[in-house]
Amino acid sequence: MTEILRTEGLTKYFGGLCAVHDVTFSMKEGEILGLIGPNGAGKTTLINMISSALTPSRGEILFKGERSSGIGAHKANLLGIARTFQIVRIFSKLTVLENVLAGVVDRRRKGPWRLIAESIFKPRDGGKAERTALETADRLLDFVEISRYRDEKAENLPYALTKRLEMARALATDPALLLLDEPSSGLNPAELNGQIELIRKINGQGITILIIEHVMKVIMDISDRLIVLHYGEKIAEGQPQEVYSDPQVVEAYLGDETDASH
């Protein structure tokens, strides 16, 4: 399988604080890679750098062999990197459908100036382009199973479904790599199973997934491989079962004796 993403010596400082230090890893096309670690380990910072919301202090990110570090979030998305957020960032005043429509990718590449000119001067083509976009958006709402909320304002969605809406919106941009930041946080056990199923379904479409998750059931269930971050450093990598029993990982999560004495 071909490599889709590689990071080399990725490092991020916030002032004097080192949030991520010298992290090197790679992802193969089509895999699900789990990213775990205690709170404050730098997982979200790492994802923010890959989605180019943050520029690394040092190191490189290569997406499909092309340098993508620090190019800006919107450009990273155009290259094929989409994401969801730990605290959902939906467009609350838009309808559920419009949230997904906003992501349908053909619309993005033209830029605002051309869109303005087209919207005013271009005669209606009978709405063919709009229909195609609508079909795509409706198909995605079906896919994440929130079609019946189609015309609701997004702010009225139950919390668990806003997570699904974010996924549909990300998928609307037709990504090759999807970054999921704690897709299961705040979900009840029944919703958890649905979420696992959905992530598998997305992966089944050939989309590579990098997932941050605290819920062990989810991460052990779906990950092909795991990476463990601790204080910004990668301390383990491998098959879920072997990482799980790695003494260094156990220590990071439970604390060693010197930690406990504090």
Partner: protein, 337 residues
């Protein structure tokens, strides 16, 4: 059955248009026509401000500056170079658009109150330039005797622009053009992207929206329409002073839009019409009680709107329309589950 509402809407639209075209025959009094023309000019202004504040979430408190730039540009071009005021209308819009583009840059880094303060500063600087550049602008006296719109002659048909009723049709055309453009803009991919970045900037970026470019673009477009309104105003009132750019003009626009309904297309129109009418009506009282009550009423209306009807008059209209629709449905007994 399904075609019925669309047909009804078309019919309603045609009826409103006919009424608007016939209005100067119904209301012939010059004073009232003057007020109606001002309603039209403020409608263009509120619609343009609404594109920024309502659809993009950018609080621009310097909008009056764009209005003033458009007014001064068209007036000065007509007075100093003899350019036809008809060309001055788009020229005023274009020069304002250029300044809008410039004001877009601070908006890339600032938001909320910081952006609001910067835009106030922008408008104040321009106002002071207009006050102090006496050679060009005649300072605080302002420009007077601005040329009227030149007569149009097509074959044997001609139209002169002497009276309020003549300007009424020009401004009506301007308002309809603005509504048409705004409607197309906010419903387009451009408009959806604006609303997306209004609701969540990182979220918008994550789906490929280049928010910097969108902000620059929307400031430019918004300023164009404000400048266009300014140019219309210059050739109608024939008097432009630096006061045009003062903060209170922006607050009039803000109040009209908020009371009418922020982030809707109907709201700014309703707000501009109602409040222009209201402030003229209040003048009778002001003469009686010798007190400038207009601003007090505006302030009160703003507070009441924010407290009790966030969606403004447009929200009330929609609520009533929904209520009537559901009542009609109930009568037919066809309530779907």
């Amino acid at each position: 059955m399904s075609a019925n509402p669309a047909v009804r809407n078309r019919l309603g639209l045609v009826l409103v248009l006919v009424l608007l075209v016939l209005l100067p025959r119904i209301i012939q009094d010059r004073y009232h026509l003057h007020i109606i023309v001002m309603m039209g000019i403020f409608t263009i202004l509120t619609l343009s401000w609404n594109l920024l504040a309502g659809y993009t979430g950018q609080l621009n408190l310097g909008h009056a500056a764009f209005f003033g730039i458009g007014a001064y540009t068209s007036a000065l071009l007509a007075m100093n170079t003899g350019l036809s005021p008809w060309l001055g209308l788009p020229a005023g819009g274009l020069v304002a658009a250029f300044f809008g583009f410039l004001l877009g840059f601070p908006a890339l880094r600032l938001s909320g109150p910081y952006l609001a303060i910067t835009t106030i500063g922008f408008a104040e600087i321009l106002r002071l330039v207009a006050v102090n550049w006496v050679d060009l602008t005649r300072g605080s006296l302002g420009l007077s005797g601005i040329p009227l719109l030149t007569p149009i002659e097509i074959g044997s048909w001609s139209m002169k622009f002497y009276f309020e009723k003549d300007y009424y049709y020009v401004v009506l055309a301007g308002v309809l053009l603005t509504i048409f453009c705004m409607r197309r803009l906010v419903r387009s991919e451009f408009g959806v992207s604006l609303q997306a970045l209004r609701d969540d900037e990182p979220g918008a970026q994550s789906i490929g929206i280049n928010i910097s470019q969108y902000k620059l673009a929307v400031f430019t477009v918004s300023a164009f329409f404000a400048g266009f309104a300014g140019a219309l105003f210059a050739h109608f009132s024939r008097l432009v002073s630096p006061e045009t750019m003062a903060l209170h003009t922006t607050f009039d626009i803000l109040t009209m839009t908020m009371v009418g309904g922020l982030g809707t297309l109907l709201g700014p129109v309703l707000g501009a019409v109602m409040l222009t009418f209201l402030s003229e009506w209040l003048r009778y009282f002001e003469d009686l009680i010798q007190f400038d009550i207009r601003l007090v009423v505006y302030g009160l209306l703003l507070i009441l709107t924010i407290l009790f009807m966030r969606e403004g008059l447009a929200g009330v209209v929609k609520w009533i329309a929904d209520w009537i629709r559901s009542a009609l449905k109930g009568e037919k007994g066809g309530t779907p589950s």
